[in-house]
């Protein structure tokens, strides 16, 4: 059985991050993993491979779509992009994440 990894704990968060990354531009799996690591300044220690099950989950829900295309170095790669449904989902989740973060912040800030 799979052990508890950060990927398990952060599954919902990972989905949100992937959506956010794709909101900027369509991208392949490796690129998404790089972007998340860069932007979070390696604070989120997520196995790069975790991106793929997350992408599949999102695709099954219709939030992202994928196509085979050519990468910047001329290789065959699968590109993911956000769908209209995905954009709406991203908005909704961003909002609820912010509410949640604020709530946690309030509790932690209380003396």
């Amino acid at each position: 059985m799979a052990k508890d990894t950060p990927a398990d704990v952060l599954q919902g968060t990972l989905d949100l991050l992937v959506l956010k990354t794709l909101a900027l531009q369509p991208m392949h799996g490796w690129g998404i993993a790089q972007r998340i690591q860069q932007i979070s300044q390696n604070a989120l220690d997520v196995g790069q491979g975790s991106v793929y099950p997350a992408l599949l989950r999102l695709e099954n829900r219709g939030w992202v779509a994928s196509d085979w295309g050519t990468s910047e170095n001329n290789r065959r790669a699968k590109f993911y992009r956000l769908t209209a449904l995905g954009e709406r989902q991203l908005r909704r989740e961003t909002e609820s994440w912010r509410k949640y973060a604020q709530a946690v912040e309030l509790i932690l800030g209380a003396t």
Binding site: Q48, G49, A54, L56, R61, N73
Partner: protein, 882 residues
């Protein structure tokens, strides 16, 4: 989730499922791309190519685990697992052909029997009738309990009153019994069944005409043009399905009728075998309530159930009885829903009993299959425990074992369907004369769906217990046991319980078969009062148009009789109005002059037959006293009658009626002298407990429109040919009705019982065989487990007799409780076939004891082979097996 998301998800899953390899391939490509990109980045950062690759794989975080996770995320895990299980099962079963064959054959028997019987049950009991809301339609009869007339026809006057006074029916209609008529087309006369039907009976059933129209109100008005509606079968066979028939004339008994419609296939009036329907008008019907000749249908008003209708109609009948006691005292109403009426109570119960029987057979088959699975599972415990240790989840192990049983059930079910197809053919042949609506029995979509359901359910049923038991295997325990694969307490207890259950179920079936066998023997031993050996019968009916009077009727039948007597090899020939088991009954009331009934009382009644001289001799009916009719007993001679012993016993008890008189009707001029007393004859059926009283009148005194020629001759074919020729020579326009041997006719009266017995015997035999296999299987397994112990005992000098006794006694551990439970079950259930039994109580002690002994003997026999094996146990082999 958003609806669009659902669709996207479903599409993704379907794609993943059906294009599994390409999806996996895509994923591999994607990972490869990722790893290459990462490695390239690492190289640019200054790593060696090898280091770069390793670091890439590390940061990816476990390719295989991700692959699994990815598979889970695809949401097709379950389906993929099932496919894998089925592949695995097929592989395992190919390696165990013997086991697979036995289980598949067992399931074939169980499922095949169920499919065949279900197709009969569905066709006979469940397939919708060709009427609108058939279960709202009821048939009504007059009933007279004191005369034991439960289903008697209804008088037109009663029907009119019923219509007027009831508030439970939305419509009522009536029809007459069908009668023989001659349909002439070109030069070919054909005997057809025709019946007069009131228009409201047509509209009440609601079935639309296939062509043209049904009979409508205006057809039954006085002076309306004569019209007819054809049944589908007659139209298809006789008129070649020609739709131009509408508006044409047909000649029925010399009368021209215009065809206005054709009814669809399968349509008929309940209990009426007519092929042509004509309008029935009750406008000029007799007001006499005692003239009961109509069959009545009614449709229940919305919201009224049959019980309420029954109560109300009994009240109506009571009010009629109060108003006209002379004709209606003691007359009430019987009522039956059309589905029940068409199938018949007896058949309904029989088919239900039969369905119960095949379910038992299926359960026994499942128990057997489960038993075999358990035996095999015990041997596989090591394999399964190892797989569990290597990380297979319990659910997956159970799934794999269930996969095996399902595959086996499917193989068995497919073979069973073939068996059922064959079985339905057999059922149709042997049941053709006895089962109503049998022509509607076939293997169709409904039967296929049922079979599929039964197959999957039984695969689950016989797979789940072994699967649960085996998958619980504890690795430590199993490996400690060494390779011997001792089954452990759970498996053995489960197997023991299965065998006990099998024996109990088999006992119940065998009791059913035994009871039927005994009652069948009783039935065949019943003295019907006549000897059908070599007696043949031909039914002829003369149309009114060309034989209008007694003289012409008499002349024709006299000619037929003398032609019959002249045939080669004939021992004796005679005429009868209605032969035993082969025609309608007729009865009348009479008066014993010594004891005239009180005013308003009806006199005694008896059935009657009109016979020629030699009738009693031809059928071997004994003449107790007095004389037979002679040629002198004709119109104009002193009127005479012969009575059966039952008449003499009932109405002249302790007296000698020979030479006395009995009076028909009210006039003293119609007194007949009793010149003979004959032995009792069963005219109706074998099962009726009482012999009905019968009076015989001389045919020459009162020639009938329809008579049967009966001839005792060893040569059946010559008889049939001679009858046809004689009739053709006498009247080329005349069709010959039924020609049959009396033996066939009598046998047919036993057909229902024979059919039930045959089926019960087949299924009970199958059950016994399966139970024997079950006992054998368990005991061989136990003996095998004890090989070492037994070998040592043989070495120490135990006699083979002791060992055999021990093993056989071991079988009794299962047989005795099985028999006890079975006896209790049989006592509770055998009442269900009470209506199929004759002269045997459903709790017949002899049958119960006999069947119990049979089962114990079978158990002992099944244990003999393993017992003998036990005595041959080789101590060296047993010890070396360590």
């Amino acid at each position: 989730m958003h609806p669009l998301s659902w669709i996207a998800a479903a599409r993704g899953r379907l794609r993943a499922l059906f294009r599994r390899s390409s999806v996996e391939g895509d994923f591999s490509d994607e990972i490869r791309f990722h790893l290459e990109m990462e490695a390239e980045k690492n190289r640019r950062a200054g790593m060696t190519p090898d280091e770069a690759r390793r670091a890439a794989t590390l940061s990816f975080g476990g390719v295989e685990r991700m692959r699994e996770e990815h598979r889970d995320a695809r949401g097709t895990r379950l389906a993929e697992d099932i496919a894998a299980d089925v592949r695995f099962a097929l592989r395992t079963l190919r390696k165990n052909k013997g086991f697979a064959t036995v289980v598949a054959l067992t399931m074939m028997l169980g499922i095949g029997a169920n499919a065949a019987v279900f197709s009969v049950a569905y066709g006979v009991l469940l397939r919708p009738l060709p009427y609108v809301d058939a279960d709202r339609v009821v048939r009504l009869w007059s009933r007279n309990d004191s005369r034991q007339l439960e289903f008697f026809s209804v008088s037109a006057a009663d029907l009119a009153t019923w219509r007027e006074r009831n508030r439970v029916f939305s419509a009522m209609g009536a029809y007459e019994r069908q009668r023989d008529a001659t349909l002439t087309r070109g030069n070919e006369p054909q005997s057809v069944q025709i019946a007069a039907i009131s228009p409201d009976a047509f509209s009440l059933l609601g079935t639309p005409a296939l062509l043209g129209r049904r009979i409508i109100e205006s057809d039954a008005q006085p002076g309306a043009p004569a019209v007819a509606v054809l049944g589908y079968e007659l139209w298809a066979s006789r008129f070649g399905g020609d739709s131009a028939i509408i508006g044409k004339d047909v000649l029925i008994d010399g009368q021209k009728l215009t065809v206005v419609g054709v009814m669809p296939p399968r349509f008929s009036f309940p209990g009426n075998a007519a092929e042509i329907w004509t309008p029935l008008s009750l406008a000029g019907a007799s007001p006499n309530r005692a003239q009961r000749y109509l069959r009545v249908l009614a449709r229940l008003s919305p919201g009224v159930d049959i019980e309420r209708a029954r109560k109300e109609m009994d009240q109506v009948a009571e009010s009629i009885a109060l108003e006209s006691p002379a004709t209606s005292r003691e007359w009430r109403v019987s009522m039956m829903g059309i589905p029940e009426h068409l199938v018949g109570r007896q058949w309904r119960r029989s088919v239900i009993a039969l369905s119960g029987v095949v379910v038992f057979v299926l359960l026994i088959a499942c128990a057997n299959a489960a038993n075999l699975q358990l035996a095999r599972a015990a041997a596989r415990r090591r394999e399964i425990a190892l797989r569990a240790a290597l990380g297979a989840r319990r659910g997956r192990l159970i799934g794999q074992l269930l996969g095996e049983s399902t595959v086996l059930a499917l193989i068995g079910g497919t073979a069973g369907l073939a068996l059922a197809y064959f079985g339905v053919g057999v059922l149709r042949t042997i049941g053709a004369e006895t089962i109503p609506r049998l022509d509607e029995v076939r293997i169709d979509g409904v039967v296929l769906a049922f079979t599929a359901l039964v197959t999957l359910a039984s695969g689950f049923l016989f797979g789940i217990v072994p699967a649960l038991g085996t998958s619980r295997a504890d690795l430590g325990v199993v490996l400690k046991e060494g390779g011997r694969g001792i089954g452990g307490g759970v498996g053995r207890r489960a197997r023991g319980a299965l065998v006990v259950g099998q024996i109990a179920l088999s006992l119940i079936l065998l009791v059913g078969a035994g009871l039927l066998m005994k009652s069948f023997a009783r039935l065949q031993a019943v003295n019907v009062g006549f000897d059908p050996t070599n007696v043949h019968l031909a039914v002829v009916r003369l149309p009114e148009s060309r034989y209008p009077d007694a003289a012409r009727l008499g002349a024709f039948y006299q000619e037929l009789l003398s032609a019959g007597a002249r045939m080669q090899g004939v021992e004796s020939a005679a005429l009868v109005s209605s032969a035993p088991f082969a025609g309608v009954n007729s009865g009348m009331t009479f008066v014993v002059p010594e004891r005239p009934p009180a005013p308003g009382e009806a006199g005694p009644d008896a059935d009657y037959r009109i016979v020629s001289p030699n009738y009693f001799r031809t059928l071997g009916i004994g003449l107790a006293r007095g004389r037979d009719f002679t040629d002198a007993d004709r119109a104009g001679a002193p009127p005479v009658v012969i009575i059966s012993e039952q008449v003499a016993r009932t109405y002249w008890p302790g007296d000698d009626p020979l030479g006395r008189q009995l009076q028909l009707g009210t006039s003293e001029s119609s007194r007949l002298t009793i010149v003979g007393i004959v032995r009792d004859v069963r005219y109706f059926g074998i099962e009726t407990p009482d012999v009905r009283p019968v009076m015989y009148f001389p045919a020459l005194g009162m020639p009938q429109r329809g008579m049967s020629l009966i001839v005792k001759t060893p040569n059946a074919d010559a008889f049939a040919a001679a009858v046809r020729k004689t009739v053709r020579d006498a009247d080329s326009q005349l069709p010959v009705g039924r020609i049959a041997s009396m033996e066939t006719v009598v046998n047919r009266a036993l057909a229902t019982q024979r059919f039930a017995l045959a089926l019960f015997a087949i299924f009970a035999g199958t059950a016994l065989l399966l139970a024997a296999i079950g006992i054998y299987g368990v005991l061989s397994y136990l003996v095998k487990q004890r090989t070492r112990e037994l070998g040592v005992r043989v070495a120490l000098g135990a006699s083979s007799r002791t060992l055999v006794t021990e093993v056989v006694a071991g079988a009794m551990w299962y047989a005795v409780p099985g028999v006890l439970i079975g006896v209790v079950g049989a006592l509770a259930l055998s009442g269900l076939i009470r209506n199929l039994l004759f002269g045997v109580s459903p709790t017949d002690a002899l049958t119960f004891v006999g069947v119990s002994v049979l089962l114990m003997a079978t158990a002992a026999l099944a244990s003999l082979v393993p017992a003998r094996r036990a005595t041959k146990a080789d101590p060296m082999l047993a010890l070396r097996g360590e």
